[in-house]
């Protein structure tokens, strides 16, 4: 065991120099456990919280089915029913499905890839609290008797102030947007973790298939969530400030909301499906005893699904009167997604055939997944046909279809995954016998409920109706569906019982209980909080199968890199994104309250917005800002090298394009660009769809717009020069240049503002959108300004010392992104000023 060496040259953050390896990694005790940043703790919290939301949403579903059990039922009144189905969809989609899958990813990815933690542990904690507080805001609407009742899709104009006065829609918009921060931060974190923190030798082709699924999913979240975030912000601005983005009287369009919503909403379905399919692809080989058949096919299929899923959004809008050509395009893209789906299904089937499958409980759920999901996929292909869609859309046929793909494609694998990975959480096995009952009840209950709904829908019953007339042919079908839903619920209840029973009474899990091939089973459950004493080099996708010495030696004696501690810090190994070659030592933060405080500050900001207590908003914003500042206010760790074992002498937190900080920054830029692109889409859409309204718009001022373009380029240039100076260790030069970056970005904000001055944002949707674009760019420039000043301050206080250029290196990338946004926004303003936006 290497002892921490005397850090003569090390000027980085000092945190646990008096502690042993185990001591450094200890989860804080007592109330301090809330300050834990470990992915194991945060992942479990995501999973358990998500499951609680699942149970709440499930109870709401039972209320729905109970109301519909007979025609003309008065169990719920119309208003309550509308709240119940709205919250059912909202909780299931936003607060259960995505977070719980991200929870599994957060928990499993480092274990599978050979990392001691996710590389941004504080971000993980921050995301969790955003999710928790956002979820609490949404749920608290019940307490204030203001539960959202406009559907989980919040269509305008129904959700505008005129038709939904009161706060219910605001609870939805603010709470959900807040919770989405968690999804997006987790996505950036997962992308970076998968690309930069893998065991030595784990090239992309040796990566467990689950990591591929999660990688693609995370990219999809990073691009898919921004349209909804922008849509929600625009809608909240319309509700709160009266900006007319969606108002047809002022050149807006209700369909813009639908475009933005489904630009998110359709990829969302695949975002939910892919991680669950990744779980299947992970569990299946274990029970067959052979590797996944057609790994390359599966990777190609997942990549193509990730792309194609963004080209389907308008098939939720076939009945809105889009041009037939558009319908035809979206119909074609929707049918094509069947190909990558089928490839995956046949990879699974071929895997089944390549060995002797064992009929365990997780395997039952996989078989359930295959049968239910295939049927749901087939009805999905039917729905891609425009004429059929016109009949089936918004009928119970679609309800049946979406539950087939979501419950079949996600809940069944998820419950299977609980049975499979439960030993990781509890150290004990769940019951195989009860598991069979859980599966049986769920399978029978599910099909009874939803198979019949195909018929109910084709018999003309629309969705989202609190009651229906008797004698139209829907009575018996609904009765049976309701009975089925109780059976399904009994299955879930039995599962919950089994989970809690097994925590105490389940047989203790042996090492690698299922005989799996992936690295998360290296230790006997429960693995230690730091995951690995040493990170073993990996030579295959199933290291536990192909490198027998891993299981032959005791887990803590397995040889690998990063044995012991250096400088008393938590750390793991950073790798080349493609080859998996160890590149650097990745220093990780220790437990801290700051992310939670930052999230609490934001919660105060959002909560106070709901209560219209604007001074409290300011307080919340200040709390969050202070917490974020302290979060980053640390000595930089880079600039030294340490022995990582196995002959690797590695730099700490290397300054490189491949470093985790830089990859994460690129991921964040992807999110920001997607947000920006959503606004540009909105602008072009309104301009194109309402030419007569565009004619009457006041033009932006030309000269300031042109100046803004130049300033945008200057921001990028100064950012890049700052990087050059910093990398060459020119201390004063870097400081001056970063202040110049700040100055030019402030000037750019002023130029954009001046260009927009003639336009009244309340007068037209297009004007409001131009202002929104200006506001978004200004927000980014404000962040850049703050960051630049922050870096300069750290430099002056010697928190960034000689040889440490990472902060400026990263700032340059952000400055270039901001410069691009300014230039593009300025170009649009110029186009508006010269050609007239009309």
């Amino acid at each position: 065991m290497s002892v921490s060496e005397t850090p003569t040259t090390y000027s980085g953050a000092r945190k646990g120099e008096d502690k042993s390896f185990e001591g450094v990694w200890d989860t804080p005790k007592g109330i301090h456990v809330l300050s834990s940043v470990s992915h194991r703790v945060v992942g479990r919290r995501f999973i358990y919280t998500g499951f609680v939301f699942f149970l709440i949403a499930g109870v709401l579903a039972l209320l729905v089915r109970t109301q519909l059990i007979v025609p003309g039922n008065t169990f719920l009144d119309l208003e309550t029913y509308n709240q119940v189905f709205t919250m059912h969809g909202t909780l299931m989609m936003f607060l259960f499905a995505i977070p719980i899958l991200e929870g599994f990813a957060v928990y499993l990815i480092p274990l599978m890839l050979g990392a001691r933690d996710l590389i941004f542990p504080r971000l993980g904690q921050f995301g969790y609290y955003c999710y928790l507080f956002g979820g609490i805001i949404v749920l608290s609407s019940f307490v204030f008797d203001a539960a959202p009742d406009g559907g989980w899709f919040m269509y305008v104009p129904l959700s505008t102030k005129a038709h939904t006065p009161g706060l219910s829609a605001d609870f939805w918009l603010i709470g959900i947007t807040f919770a989405e921060i968690a999804s997006v931060t987790a996505a950036v974190e997962l992308i970076t973790a998968i690309l930069t923190a893998r065991a030595p030798g784990m090239s992309l082709t040796k990566m467990p298939i689950f990591a591929w699924y999660i990688l693609i999913t995370a990219f999809m979240i990073a691009i898919g969530f921004p349209p909804l975030i922008i849509g929600s912000i625009l809608l909240e601005a319309e509700r709160l400030l009266g900006l007319p983005f969606f108002d047809p009287m002022l050149g807006g369009d209700p369909l813009l909301w639908q475009h933005l919503f489904w630009l998110f909403g359709h990829p969302e379905v695949y975002i939910i499906f892919l991680p669950a399919a990744g779980m299947v692809a992970t569990m299946l080989p274990t029970f067959v005893g052979k590797p996944l058949f057609g790994y390359g096919f599966a990777v190609a299929a997942v990549v193509s699904m990730g792309f194609i899923s963004f080209g389907l959004w308008a098939h939720h809008m076939f009945a809105t009167g889009l041009p037939i050509l558009s319908l035809s395009l979206f119909s074609a893209a929707s049918t094509m997604v069947a190909v990558p789906t089928a490839i995956q299904v046949f990879c699974f089937i071929a895997t089944l055939a390549s060995g002797r499958p064992k009929l365990t409980t997780p395997m039952l759920f996989i078989l359930g997944f295959l049968s239910i999901f295939v049927l749901g996929g087939l009805t999905g292909v039917m729905l891609a046909s425009v004429p059929f869609n016109w009949q089936a859309h918004d009928s119970y046929f679609v309800v049946a279809h979406l539950h087939y793909v979501l419950i079949g494609g996600m809940v069944f694998p998820l419950i299977g995954a609980f049975y499979y990975w439960a030993p990781h959480f509890t150290g004990r096995m769940m019951s195989e016998r009860l598991g069979r009952w859980v599966f049986g009840l769920m399978f029978v209950g599910f099909n009874t409920t939803f198979l019949l709904m195909h018929i109910t829908g084709l018999r003309g019953m629309p969705r989202r109706v609190a009651t229906y007339a008797e004698g139209l042919g829907w009575d018996r079908l609904n009765m049976l569906s309701s009975i089925g839903s109780y059976i399904l619920a009994a299955g879930i209840a039995l599962f919950v019982f089994d989970f809690f029973r097994s925590r105490r009474h389940g047989p203790p899990a042996p090492r690698n209980p299922w005989g799996a091939g992936t690295l998360e089973w290296l230790y006997p459950p429960v693995a230690p909080g730091f995951n690995f004493h040493a990170i073993p080099p990996v030579e295959s996708r199933e290291p536990l199968w192909d490198q027998p010495h891993l299981l032959e030696t005791e887990a803590h004696k397995v040889e690998g890199v990063m044995h012991g501690i250096r400088d008393g810090r938590r750390e793991t190994v950073g790798c080349d994104p493609v080859s998996g070659k160890p590149l650097y030592i990745l220093r990780l933060p220790h437990p801290t309250w700051l992310p939670m405080i930052a999230a609490a500050g934001l919660a105060l900001l959002f909560g106070a917005t709901l209560a219209s207590a604007y001074w409290l908003c300011a307080v919340g914003a200040v709390i969050a800002l202070v917490a974020f500042t302290l979060w980053g206010w640390e000595p930089s760790d880079s600039g030294v090298t340490r022995d990582a074992g196995m002959g690797h002498e590695l730099p700490v937190n290397v300054v490189d394009r491949r470093s985790h900080m830089h990859v994460a920054l690129v991921g964040t830029m992807l999110v920001l660009m997607a947000l920006f692109a959503s606004l540009i889409f909105g602008l072009l859409y309104l301009w194109n769809i309402r030419p007569e309204a565009a004619e009457t718009l006041t033009r932006p001022a030309l000269l300031p717009a042109a100046v803004a373009v130049v300033l945008g380029l200057a921001v990028a240039l100064f950012g890049q020069l700052t990087r050059r100076a910093a990398v060459r260790d020119r201390f004063a030069g870097a400081t001056v240049l970063s202040l110049l970056t700040v100055l030019t970005s402030l000037l750019a904000v002023a130029a954009l503002g001046l260009s927009l001055m003639p336009i009244d944002p309340w007068a037209s949707a297009l004007g409001a959108t131009l202002w929104a674009i200006g506001g978004f760019v200004a927000f980014n420039l404000a962040v850049l300004t703050y960051w630049g000043l922050f870096n300069a301050a750290r430099r002056l206080t010697r928190r960034i010392g000689p040889g440490q250029s990472m902060p400026d290196f990263n700032l340059a990338t952000f400055a270039k992104g901001c410069g691009l946004m300014v230039a593009v926004a300025g170009a649009f303003f110029i186009a508006g000023a010269v050609g007239g936006v009309g």
Binding site: L204, F307, I324, L325, S326, Y685, I689, E692
Partner: protein
Amino acid sequence: MTALTRQIVAIARPGVVWAVHFIAIYALISAACAARALIGHPTLLIAGAVVTVLGVALCLWSVAAPRTGEDGDLRPAAFWSGLIFALAILANASALFFFQSCGG
């Protein structure tokens, strides 16, 4: 670039090509069929055909990519990714040629 990096690029490139093609077709339809009517139907068809031929060609570049790499398992991935996206591009474009107008 290492052989593996080339393979990864060959897998992802057709997706990007598909995305650009999709956006182009969507933009063309929106330009031709919305209230503003920026372009006429013939322009739509010609521009659509051009981007489609380009798109398919770029995808087939991945299909034909040299299949030398350190890892055999990813070899079919680039091939199939190119093929799937080429088909998807053709499917998207075919939407244009069934109708003589924006329809509806």
